[in-house]
Symmetry: C2
DNA sequence: TACTCTGTTGGTAATCATTATCAGGCCGGT
DNA sequence: ACCGGCCTGATAATGATTACCAACAGAGTA
């Protein structure tokens, strides 16, 4: 039998492209889209296919190595995350993308309590804070 | 000069289609997509164009009469809301769409305090709770 | 009521992100 | 080196949303 066949996902084969995507994602600061990562890699002269970028970002997300969020116009953004799968949220600068990881113990409690209160079960939540970081709010005092 | 020209938006002309979309949205319980509302109207034999449905849902959202949220796969959902533009969130059943309006005083405070703490300004937040309502969790104990 | 001025409508084409396909290439174990 | 199967990536397909724009219909006005 080859590798992990028992009950878990078949071991992910390590490839050049997989490394490229992960590295490129790690290189940047904030959340970025698959299209962006693809463009960045191509700009660096790396040879990767768009499909492959999508695939690896998806894998990273599934593995809990990357966090995702949706822009208002339905575009998925990814970001490599250091918290190793632990549940958390983000405070993101809508201008430069700088991101602060948030661990809101209280909010989690609030959410689950509220759910129970209304008879809901199996509830998960989406919480994202989007604003301007200190640097960016100085640079552009108003729109 | 005709109608409201001063400083506000030119008066919205009242049309048959506008009423249809609003009514159809009001008829349902939970959040629905533009495509769905369009299909429902057509199923009832009403003559409306897809573009028009999109337009009116957008208008309702802009006016604060309807709330919106994004499904995981980038589809916008709309729901007519009674809270008259007051800021709030939702606890939605992912199965039947039943929705409970949430007014989380504490969470609002938490969010703004957290933002300030990290030097962020002009912060808005997205909070959605998605689960199974009591009825649906009984009906389908597991997937 | 007839007329005119605009905002509105809606079929269709265009966008655009994401996914499905699938033949050919590469990884890993033997 | 050999093989079987996962991985890759160009391309087509999908699906929601938007752009277009000529025909249409509210709402004042005479
Ligand atoms: Zn994170
Ligand atoms: Zn910033
Ligand atoms: Zn609401
Ligand atoms: Zn339900």
């Amino acid at each position: 039998m080859t590798g992990t066949v028992g009950g878990r996902r078949r071991r992910q084969r390590s490839t050049r492209q997989g490394g490229l995507v992960r590295d490129q994602l790690a290189a940047g600061e904030g959340f970025r889209s698959a299209q962006t990562v693809f463009a960045e890699l191509r700009a660096k002269g790396e040879e990767v296919g768009l499909s492959t970028v999508y695939r690896h970002l998806q894998v990273l997300a599934d593995e809990g190595q990357a966090d995702t969020l949706q822009t208002g116009d339905g575009e998925a953004l990814y970001r490599l995350c250091g918290t190793d799968g632990k549940h958390h949220h983000h405070l993101v600068c809508r201008n430069c993308g700088r991101t602060v990881e948030i661990e809101g113990r209280g909010v989690e409690r609030w959410a689950s309590q509220l759910a129970e209160e209304h008879g809901f079960s199996d509830v998960n939540h989406t919480i994202e804070l989007l604003g301007l970081c200190s640097d960016c709010s100085q640079t552009r005092p108003r729109d």
